[in-house]
């Protein structure tokens, strides 16, 4: 996993609630067996509309996406995060995120920052009226703010999660180091669990 320290850039306002993963990446594009190459299909249906925010050249190169509540709801498809990553999005800032989507973002090193509605209203308005506004998210300081320093907000994150993000640590290799503890748990497990390999 890539390491994360700060994300600085323009923020594209996805001013909608409950954006579901079927919009972020439609099912017909889930037949591929790679982790990359989903960017061109992101928000495929909505991009048919010339007025859709991602078609606005003013937000080209945005690294942050602003959104409202329950972004990433629906399907567990991690392809949704891969598609956002393919668009160049490195951080999501919204009121709330769907549980599985949030977890998938963490796995790919895409930051999710949750802020109260009043702050999202402010940032949404800012990026709609002045698209060139740059935001900076500092994981170390746990802050999100405008680069001119006019507005800043603290956000919470589990310290151990933060540590892993900052170093780009791979969860699987860390868990494999806990092998002896997992072995011990398995030794104490009841033997009634159904086995898939016996008839």
């Amino acid at each position: 996993m890539r390491s994360v320290s700060t994300v600085r850039g323009k923020a594209v306002p996805m001013d909608r609630a409950n954006v579901d993963t079927d919009q972020i990446i439609p099912a017909k594009h889930l037949k591929r067996i790679n982790r990359t190459g989903y960017g061109p299909f992101a928000f495929e249906a909505w991009r048919q509309d010339p007025d859709f925010v991602l078609n606005n050249p003013a937000y080209e190169g945005a690294k942050i996406m602003l959104t409202r509540e329950n972004f990433g709801s629906g399907s567990s498809r991690e392809h949704a995060v891969w598609a956002l990553d393919g668009l160049g999005i490195e951080a999501m800032v919204g009121i709330s995120f769907a549980d599985i989507f949030k977890s998938n973002c963490f796995q790919s090193g895409v930051l999710t920052v949750e802020l109260p509605r009043v702050d999202i209203d402010y940032l949404m308005d800012l990026s709609i009226t002045t698209p060139e506004t740059e935001l900076e998210i500092d994981l170390g300081e746990q802050t999100v703010g405008t680069v001119d320093g006019v507005w800043a907000h603290h956000f919470q994150i589990d310290p151990f999660r933060k540590y892993r993000l900052q170093r780009g640590l791979d969860d699987i290799s860390m868990t494999l180091e806990l092998g002896p503890d997992i072995d011990e748990f398995e030794r104490q497990m009841p033997d009634w669990l159904p086995k898939t390999n016996s008839d």
């Binding site: 579901d20 079927d22 977890s103 540590y163 002896p180 497990m189 009634w192 898939t196």
Partner: protein, 492 residues
């Protein structure tokens, strides 16, 4: 200390890991970070996974990741694979016309073989939707932890198992370690009291619940469904309820195991046998929430007020009773107005239109929500010798090969076919529109599936969610009707 069902299952699966605690402390010391007490709720633990279900769409990248890192599957004996999401439901014996789909199925077959994972492959009669086959075979048992790279894994919660969907990176983590790093969710009790009225099904119960708590009301929570209405549901009905927990934002939904659960399970291929069965039942009887256990949030719903529901919008909370009308945007809270307006535009519906006056083009009966034998029996009972309305195209996609065979043996397939329904092979099909079973742009469907998102069943398609009975009745009438009104509501 008293515990909820969820807390009992969770606590039994948290791995006490001194190594993990040491690594965490070392990390915090190294980075000079304080170990904030307020972060306790966020703090991740290592959770053991008793059963890992894999399918062709969300697993290829996970197996590839293992291969690239030189890792192996830790417990192939606790892992089960099938192909369901993109398999054709017709003409399976012919070459797959979609090369990407064919490749994905082939990759699943190769990965299963290489890693020693049992696969219910495309021509295996046990093949089917991953959340149908687990319970059907008796793999799904009370008190287990079950995960799958699919958000509807919550279905298995109907047995009192803690079951939830995960992303592909987590699939890889489970394959390699049989564990997951998880923060402890909050608990929510949803109690449905009273008795259901005529024509009201488990599907209407869960649509009513989602309508009540909203599509993000369950974020960060595990729901336990309780109350008289839930207790009186069959296992199939309980699975329908738990299945759609994710549509309320909850990652998992559980129902306490009881005699109904045990009767459903007894004799299934993977269920315990003989003395082991008795010991298992004794263990399972200890799982229900203690009487004085408390939940972080409690919701009470009067089941006697639930009517057959139909969704009118583009998320599963946008629903109304069959005798209702399409809502006016001015009537909803200001924060929801824009999304209601967007939904009405997408769905091409005019506010104030009676739900009964909405005509449909397609009917889909199937999916992990409503693709079980009881669902097919209920739909067939409504048909009762009548015909699908002119201009309507209707299909039934059984949830598994075994459901299909049983329905054929019971004569249900003949009922559907005689009425003009297409009778297909098992898979996810038009629920998510990955295979050729899709709506054309502008087509309107009555669907027993779980999501009415824009384009879910095909680009430009318009989906209305409802119960199998209501879907069958709509197929015959060509528009929505109230099955609660009895046979006279459905045209001959």
């Amino acid at each position: 200390m008293s515990k909820t069902l969820f807390e009992k299952v969770w606590d039994q699966h948290v791995i006490d890991s001194p190594l993990q605690e040491a690594a965490r402390r070392e990390a915090l010391a190294e980075s000079g970070m304080a170990d904030h007490e307020e972060m306790l709720g966020e703090r991740q633990v290592l959770l053991y996974v008793d059963l890992h279900l894999v399918h062709e769409v969300t697993s290829p990248q996970a197996f590839e990741g293992l291969r690239q890192a030189g890792r192996s599957v830790r417990r192939p004996d606790l892992t089960l694979g099938t192909v369901d999401h993109n398999v054709p439901t017709i003409g399976r014996e012919l070459p797959n016309p979609d090369p990407l789909s064919a490749k994905q199925i082939e990759v699943m077959q190769n990965n299963a073989q290489e890693c020693g994972v049992t696969l219910y492959d495309i021509f295996d009669e046990r093949q089917g939707i991953v959340h149908i086959i687990g319970p059907e075979q008796g793999f799904t048992q009370p008190g287990m932890t079950i995960v799958c790279g699919d958000s509807h894994t919550s279905t298995h919660g109907a047995f009192g198992a803690l079951a939830f969907g995960i992303g592909t990176s987590e699939v890889e983590h489970v394959l390699a370690t049989q564990t997951l790093r998880q923060s402890r969710p909050k608990t929510m009790s949803v109690e449905v009291t009273g008795a259901l009225g005529p024509g009201v099904t488990a599907k209407d119960v869960i649509l009513a619940i989602i309508n009540e708590i909203g599509v993000h009301g369950g974020i960060g929570h595990v729901i336990e469904y309780r109350g008289e209405v839930i207790r009186n549901l069959s296992m199939e009905g309980r699975m329908t309820v738990c299945n759609m927990s994710i549509e309320a934002g909850a990652r998992a939904g559980l129902i306490a195991p009881d005699q109904t659960t045990f009767e459903y399970m007894k004799g299934r291929p993977k269920a315990p046998k003989g003395d082991e069965w008795d010991r298992a039942v004794e263990r399972w009887r200890r799982l229900p929430s203690d009487d004085d256990a408390t939940f972080d949030r409690e919701v009470l719903i009067d089941g006697s007020r639930i009517r057959p529901f139909v969704t009118w919008g583009t998320n599963p909370s946008q629903s109304v009773a069959i005798d209702g009308v399409v809502p006016h945007p001015e009537e909803v809270p200001a924060t929801q107005r824009e999304s209601v307006e967007r939904a009405l535009t997408y769905m091409n519906l005019t506010p104030g239109t009676p739900i009964r006056d909405i005509s449909i083009d397609r009917v889909f009966i199937g999916s992990c929500t409503n693709g079980r034998i009881e669902d097919l029996r209920a739909a067939a009972a409504v048909i009762d010798g009548k015909k699908v309305a002119g201009g309507v195209s209707a299909m039934v996609v059984p949830g598994s090969g075994l459901v299909k065979r049983q329905a054929e043996e019971e004569g249900l397939a003949e009922v559907f076919k005689a009425a003009g329904f297409e009778w297909r092979d098992a898979g996810c099909s038009m629920c998510l529109g990955m295979n050729p079973d899709i709506l054309l742009p502008g087509q309107r469907s009555a669907s027993t599936s779980n999501r009415n998102f824009e384009g879910r069943q095909g680009p430009g398609g318009r989906t209305h969610l409802l119960s199998p009975e209501m879907a069958a009745a709509a197929a015959l009438a060509g528009h929505f009707v109230d099955v609660g009104d009895g046979p006279s509501a459905v045209p001959a």
